[in-house]
């Protein structure tokens, strides 16, 4: 088992290197590294020349890549072109906000989605199953930003009508969030709607997948054996079938992380949350490629990490996986 984890870890290293090169080459080639500066009337030709020399922009791409990696490792991605605020300081501030959002959404939607999937599969072609199917089709067809806006409209109007504050529709916290329990409550009230929005995006995926996975397992021989042994239906489903049907869902949940980050980009934008998505969009508007590359690297590392966890979990959950 340990060697398996070690080998998977080692395998991630070339993937990480290749991804970082792809990010650097891709971003440098399609974008002008100095694009944001050139349109800035305050930047003199001298400053531009200085930065060109500082970032080694006259060198070929592989050499530039080398300098960039050194900068990323030794100076935590350095500073953006347009300000002196270190990139890592900003990232360090926004990452926990986005992680709270994404992890909460992931856990809640996994719990609900898997339950819906199991019930749909047990009661296949029932009214519940058809309703769940219809809603998941709606979920697949719905742009996240639109759903977010509709929720925002609904809850804002609810507040305006009744003047009772259940959820906030903008920002991460109130002007005076308080401390301890009050702070947590305040944060939860702010994040509740964004989390709901992200959950809807995920629920459709997880419930459909769980349903299909369970339906496949239910028809296998060992489930029939379990029934033949005289186990109760509940035991057969929960102990024998669901356990195995969950295995592919775990992989899906890990791979879905990228999609969740994508959803977080638009959701944070709408609810004015100071998270990674907001930071990303802001720097895209500034055309500043250094924070963008740093952002992409952080996300890539996270995705690779989640894939690693999925692989290891797969090994733990599925005894058929061999480690050698």
């Amino acid at each position: 088992m340990l060697t398996y984890i070690a080998r998977r870890l080692l395998y991630s290293i070339p993937v990480l290197i290749a991804t970082s090169f792809l990010i650097f080459a891709g971003v440098s080639l399609i974008g002008d590294p100095l694009g944001g500066l050139k349109v800035n009337p305050l930047a003199s030709q001298e400053t531009i020349d200085h930065i060109r020399a500082e970032k080694h922009l006259s060198d070929p791409i592989p050499v530039q890549y080398g300098y960039w990696v050194r900068d990323a490792v030794l100076h935590k991605f350095g500073t953006p072109l347009l300000s002196q605020q270190p990139i890592w300081d900003d990232l360090k501030r926004v990452i926990p906000h986005t992680l709270t959002l994404v992890i909460a959404a992931e856990l809640i939607s996994l719990l609900i989605g898997v339950s819906i999937g199991i019930y749909s599969a047990i009661r296949q072609y029932s009214v519940f199953d058809y309703t769940a199917t219809t809603f998941s089709f709606l979920g697949f067809a719905m742009p996240v930003f639109w759903l977010a806006l509709m929720m925002q409209i609904a809850f804002t109007n609810l507040f305006l009508a009744w003047h009772v504050r259940i959820f906030y529709t903008s920002g991460l916290s109130s002007v005076d969030p308080g401390t301890g329990f009050h702070w947590v409550l305040d944060r939860a009230q702010h994040l509740a709607i964004p989390i709901m929005v992200l959950c809807v995006l995920n629920l459709a995926v997880y419930s459909r997948f769980m349903r299909a996975s369970l339906l496949e397992v239910v028809n296998t021989d060992y489930v029939r054996t379990a029934r033949a042994k005289g186990l109760t239906e509940q035991k057969v489903t929960l102990k024998h079938a669901v356990r195995n049907a969950l295995i592919p869902v775990v992989t899906l949940a890990a791979l879905n992380f990228g999609a969740l980050i994508g959803g977080a980009i638009v959701t944070e934008q709408i609810f004015q949350l100071d998270g990674m998505g907001n930071y990303f969009i802001q720097n895209l508007f500034n055309q500043d490629i250094y924070p963008i590359m740093a952002w992409l690297m952080v996300v890539a590392i996270a995705v690779i990490l989640f894939n690693l966890i999925a692989d290891i979990l797969y090994g733990v959950l599925d005894p058929r996986v061999r480690y050698d």
Binding site: G26, I30, L149, I281
Partner: protein, 331 residues
Amino acid sequence: MTDHSLERDTSLAAVGGGGAAAVEAGAGAYAYDATQQAYESGLEVEVRSQWYYARKRFVRHRLAVASLIILVVILMAGFLAPWIAPYGFEGYDVNHLEQAPTLAGGHIFGTDLLGRDYFSRVLYGIRTSERVAFIVMLLATVIGTAIGMVAGYYSRWADNLLMRFTDLILTLPALAVLLVAAALMGKGDQYRVAIILSLLLWTTLARIVRGQFLSLREKEYVDAAKAAGAGDLRIMFRHMLPNSVGPIVVFATLTLGVAILLEAYLSFLGFGVQPPTPALGKLIADGQDVSSNDWWLVTFPGLTIVLIVLCINFVGDGLRDALDPTQRVRA
């Protein structure tokens, strides 16, 4: 061997009226006899191709057919926007500023702060979205099929390269990659957006076609074609491609929906289709600032997107069932 394969063999043969019923029963040998009888008795024999069966299976899928009809109506409405929109895209109705949707007033989707009719604007938005989506569908399908064919047929290094490359692309969230490309390539028109989307979306199809070609390569009829002296190109295009047409058609259909969604995301965030070109995502973004009062400015363009994508997905589902030759034709 299951009765599926028997059924497929006989359905490929020309079967007459009596033969068709026999095929339904799944009795291959009997169907063959019936066909022979039909021939010998001088009855007219109707040729039924795989497409005939696919069409039949699709028509049986009521939801898919209904979706197809709604989809065609919406897409035609968008296509004909300049002729059927009651007001122009930038047309003002100064007597009805910021009006909620009414049937009587003639603004069924309401108007915005400047008195622009949102029904007309949505029609124009559909026009842009569908144009982008069709270009993406065409480009992504052609690129994806071509690369998938090469990777699947020649295998080895081409295959390795493709798989590793798509693996790397999949490491990053699709939306982030699209946003970076769209933001850094400078502002442009809808065609630029379409090209950026196609450059990302071809990868899925390439993997599908590759998988198909990897398995088709081992089939006997490919060996037979090789033995008969057919060249690589002929084998790929005449023998293998027609056998992978099902997944390709389904992918192309679903890509239409994905492209409309992604274009909406980009335009909403301000990196997609640039004004003054109308786009559904941009309409929603415009309505965002006054959304708590003028809910209709956000609601209707969004509902349009949901309806279009929903219909496309249902049609895609219907096609998936229809183009699968192992599916039964329930006559």
